[in-house]
Every structure is written in structure tokens, then in C-alpha cells.
């Protein structure tokens, strides 16, 4: 274990924390353009975070310690997840600690804490949001696991960095099962990050909101941390997608020096720009589903991922 890999690990996490709000801002900007509105500035999320950090916290009288601890737990789990996902380099010391099944567990931990905190105050909206979130979560998680299993089948490993290394070693191979897994992954990404077919992140209409309903009681620095954590979550999902399906440019094991790292950063930024525009396009083209359609949507994602596994097994690629 060399010191340089720890430096890279640190750099990757810092970069993730720094540019996650930028990615959210970019998606908001693309959406505004597609809907013929004048777009908010790219730096808008940072301004909002700054404003929130300077405000005073207002807490409900019956808020327990759980409610106050949850923003930190959320932010912590998302930072840890960013440390495991190979967004820039695959030589990550921390990635040895947890494979991608543990990663799914990390996301689940964050979800459980956020739902408990939403129910903690005892308002109707919080409970409603928490129940909906748990419903979406328990359907999305198996679909995500199946997508990951698809990749595991290809390269025989459950750790994301070695998957990326595997992909880079057989660059010419395009497995047909990848198509199914990719479609299923995009569906899960949209559902898990409170995006349009399932939830609308910019609404405060009480009948439809899921994610926003859970945050209603939060204010100031707590709200800032929760918002930052959710943009980190979106960033993390995007990076999982890149690692699974578009691993070009990521600095692999043994690629030393500054040059591969610079290439990796440039590739990551380019992929984020394209992915953000694509996400905004998908969101603008689709209508929000009724909440009772959500199980159907997620069951389809799950079945597509299973179909990918089947195609891989039966086609014998």
C-alpha cells in the first residue's frame, strides 16, 4: 500500500464533494433550457448551500437526537460511498474494505435514517414521505443488485474497481446483456434520486412529493447537509453507471503519474456533462407516474436486469 494511492483516494473524495452540487446545477440548467425557461446559474446550488449554512437552525420542540444526527449520517454515508466508487482511479485503498453489495447497503442505511428522521417529528407529511420512500426503496434495491450482478457475472468480482480493471482489459467486448442492465440501471437511478417518472424534485404539491416531504422539517445547516447529500447521491449513482457501462478514461491499476489522473478528471467531467444533459432530456420527455404505478415501473427495471442475466447465460457470450 503506497502513500500515493491514499493521496489519490483523498483527491477523489474531495473532488466528488466539490462537484456534486455542480452536477445537480447542470441538470437543472439543462431542464430549464429544454422547457424554454431562462436557466438558473450553474452555481445556484452552491449559493443555496452557502445561504443555508449562514442561517440559524429552527428545530421542532419534540425533535430527538436522531433528527439532529441524521444530516451528518446522510452526508457521511454518501462521502463514504464516493470513496468506494472508482470515479477517477481504481487503485483505491478504501475500496478493499467494502464491495458493491456493501455499497448498496450504505445507500440503504442513508434511506433508513432519513425515513426515521422524517417520522421523528410526527407530522403527517413526514410520515407520508417516509412510507413512500421506503416503498420505492425496497423495490429499487433488488433491481440495483441485479444490475450489479450482471456486471459481476461478466468479470467474476463484486468489487467495482476490479470490474473497471476487467473492462479495460477486454475493451473490445460488448456483451449484449449490458444493454438490458444499462436500461434497468437508468430506471433505478431515476427512481432512487427522486427524479421525474417517480418523484418531482421541484414540487411542493403534497399529494405527489416523496423526497421533499421528508425534508420539510429541516432548516439551515441541517437542510444544507441533506441537500448536499442528495446531490452527492446522484453524483455517486452517475459514477456507478460510468464504472459499469462507460469505464473509459478511469486511471487503472499501475497507471502512475499525473497524466492519467488528468485524463481521468477530463473524462469524468465530459461524461458528467453528457449524462446530465441525457437525464434532463429523459425527465423532460416523461410524465410523472402515479404513485401506484411505481411498483410496476420498478418491477420492470428488475425484470430487465434479470433478462440481462438470462441473455448472458443463454447466449453464452
Amino acid at each position: 500500500m503506497r502513500a500515493i494511492s491514499f493521496v489519490r483516494q483523498f483527491l477523489e473524495v474531495v473532488l466528488a464533494i466539490a462537484i456534486a452540487p455542480l452536477f445537480t446545477g447542470w441538470i437543472a440548467q439543462c431542464r430549464a433550457w429544454l422547457q424554454n425557461r431562462s436557466a438558473p446559474s450553474l452555481l445556484q446550488p452552491y449559493r443555496m448551500l452557502r445561504k443555508l449554512f449562514f442561517k440559524d437552525v429552527v428545530l421542532a420542540q419534540n425533535a430527538s437526537a436522531l433528527f439532529r444526527a441524521t444530516p451528518y449520517v446522510l452526508f457521511g454515508t454518501m462521502v463514504l460511498a464516493a470513496a468506494i466508487i472508482p470515479s477517477l482511479v481504481t487503485d483505491l485503498p478504501l475500496a478493499r474494505v467494502a464491495d458493491s453489495i456493501a455499497l448498496v447497503g450504505l445507500f440503504a442505511t442513508a434511506r433508513v435514517f432519513l425515513s426515521l428522521a422524517a417520522m421523528d417529528i410526527g407530522t403527517a407529511f413526514g410520515t407520508l414521505g417516509a412510507r413512500r420512500e421506503m416503498m420505492i426503496g425496497f423495490l429499487a434495491e433488488p433491481a440495483l443488485l441485479m444490475v450489479l450482478f450482471n456486471a459481476f457475472m461478466l468479470f467474476g468480482s463484486t468489487s467495482l474497481p476490479s470490474l473497471v480493471d476487467g473492462y479495460r482489459a477486454h475493451q473490445s467486448v460488448v456483451d449484449p446483456s449490458v444493454i438490458f442492465a444499462a436500461v434497468a440501471f437508468v430506471m433505478v437511478l431515476l427512481a432512487e434520486n427522486a427524479r421525474i417518472p417517480i418523484d418531482n424534485p421541484s414540487t411542493h404539491l403534497e399529494l405527489t412529493m416523496i423526497h421533499e416531504a421528508m425534508l420539510l422539517e429541516y432548516s439551515a445547516r441541517h437542510l444544507a447537509l441533506v441537500e448536499w447529500a442528495s446531490s452527492l447521491k446522484l453524483f455517486n449513482y452517475a459514477c456507478i453507471g460510468f464504472a459499469l457501462f462507460l469505464p473509459w478514461g478511469i486511471a487503472t491499476h499501475g497507471a502512475d503519474g499525473g497524466w492519467p489522473l488528468l485524463v481521468a478528471i477530463a473524462a469524468l467531467l465530459g461524461k458528467l456533462v453528457i449524462a446530465g444533459a441525457a437525464l434532463a432530456l429523459i425527465e423532460s420527455l416523461s410524465a410523472k407516474l402515479r404513485i401506484f404505478r411505481a411498483p410496476e415501473y420498478l418491477a420492470m427495471a428488475f425484470l430487465l436486469a434479470v433478462l440481462g442475466l438470462l441473455v448472458h447465460l443463454l447466449l453464452g457470450a
Binding site: V174, I179, F180, L303, L304, L307, L315
Partner: protein, 221 residues
């Protein structure tokens, strides 16, 4: 050698895309969306036929690819769009019985189709032999779609999708059928869609809807 391997790989990816479109058709509710998906299926078929023609060096495969492009990507979707526009059915959506259950049945059909294709695949020598299972699955999924639908237009689209699957099966098992037969099938399809289009109007005139469950009772009482 490496070149043909790449083409075989590409063909597998296209076959997987065809299967994906079949599942999307199974789950989609809107008639217009179905027609678009059908056109995409034809486009996939066109690309795969061109690839097979290129790799096998058969000139007549190019003709059948061109025929696919003309008929299944341009003509039939256009006719169907015109038809549902005339019928005022373009915003029709139908109540499907439980999409996840249908998809599960589809999954079972895929496994069945692969099992069925296994012996043929091991005997065939074509570059596309591995995709025969997918072709059979596409046929069976189109069958399933026809079974689960109640509207006349969607049933016809299911029928056309089934023909797509048959065409794909023919290219993957034996490098396509003789040109005469292919031309005959193309003509049949075109005439079939015309006749069914006339049927649509007759059905609607009789029952005021395109719901086929009206046809199930023999007597009015």
C-alpha cells in the same frame, strides 16, 4: 477472423436490442408508442440483415434488407399512423392486465425459446446461429402481446411484430429465405394490413369501438 468476430458480437447486441424492444412493446400502453416501437424493431432488423449480408457476401440479402427498410420502417408504420388517425384512435390506451405478471410470463417464454433453439443452434453453421433463440423469443413475445391485448389495432401490430421475429429467425438460421418467398411475404403483409384496415372500420361501425371482446359472442341477446 477478428473482423467476423466483431460482426458476430454486433449481431448479438442487435439481437438483444430486438428482444428489449419486444419487451417494451409488451409493456407499452399507447397505440402510437407501439407503432414507433414497431418501426424501431424494423430498423434493427434492417441493420442486422445488412450486417449478415456484408459478412456472408450474399447480394440478395441486401435486397431483402432494403425491402425491410421500405416496408417495415417506412410504409407500414406510416399506414398504421394514417389508420389510427382516421379512426381517431391515436390517443387510445388500453387497460393491460398486470404488466409485471405479463413480463414474468415473457421471461419464462424467453427461457423456453432458448431451450427450443439449442439443438438447432448446435447444428447450424451461420454467423448468426446464436441469435436464433432470441428470434424465437421475439415470435413468442409477439404471440403473448396478441393474447393480452383487446384492441384490434394493437393485435395487428402484434401480428406484424411476429412476422419481424420470423424474418429474424430465417436470417439467423439459414441466411434468409429465397427472394421469391420473401417478396411474396412482403406483399402479403402489405395486403394484409390494407384488408385489416378495412376490417377496423367495419368493426367500429358495428360495435362503436375497436374492442375485440365484442366479437366473442355469436348472437346478440
Amino acid at each position: 477472423m477478428h473482423h467476423s468476430e466483431l460482426i458476430a458480437q454486433l449481431l448479438k447486441v442487435i439481437a438483444a436490442g430486438l428482444l428489449l424492444i419486444s419487451f417494451a412493446m409488451l409493456a407499452s400502453r399507447r397505440t402510437q408508442q407501439l407503432i414507433t416501437l414497431f418501426a424501431w424493431q424494423g430498423a434493427m432488423l434492417f441493420v442486422s440483415t445488412c450486417l449478415v449480408a456484408y459478412s456472408s457476401g450474399l447480394t440478395e440479402m441486401y435486397y431483402s434488407a432494403g425491402l425491410t427498410l421500405l416496408l417495415k420502417v417506412i410504409a407500414l408504420p406510416w399506414i398504421l399512423h394514417r389508420l389510427i388517425h382516421r379512426l381517431g384512435a391515436q390517443w387510445d390506451s388500453e387497460q393491460l392486465v398486470n404488466v409485471p405478471t405479463t413480463m414474468m410470463a415473457g421471461l419464462a417464454l424467453v427461457i423456453f425459446a432458448f431451450g427450443l433453439a439449442q439443438p438447432i443452434t448446435s447444428m447450424a453453421t451461420t454467423i448468426t446461429r446464436h441469435t436464433l433463440g432470441i428470434a424465437l423469443a421475439v415470435i413468442l413475445l409477439a404471440f403473448l402481446m396478441m393474447i393480452t391485448r383487446r384492441k384490434a389495432v394493437t393485435q395487428v401490430i402484434g401480428f406484424l411484430a411476429m412476422e419481424n421475429g420470423l424474418f429474424f429467425a430465417a436470417t439467423s438460421a439459414t441466411y434468409g429465405m429465397p427472394m421469391v418467398i420473401e417478396l411474396g411475404i412482403a406483399l402479403d403483409l402489405l395486403v394484409g394490413v390494407f384488408i385489416l384496415g378495412i376490417f377496423f372500420f367495419q368493426i367500429r361501425e358495428q360495435f362503436d369501438s375497436l374492442d375485440l371482446s365484442n366479437l366473442e359472442s355469436l348472437k346478440e341477446d
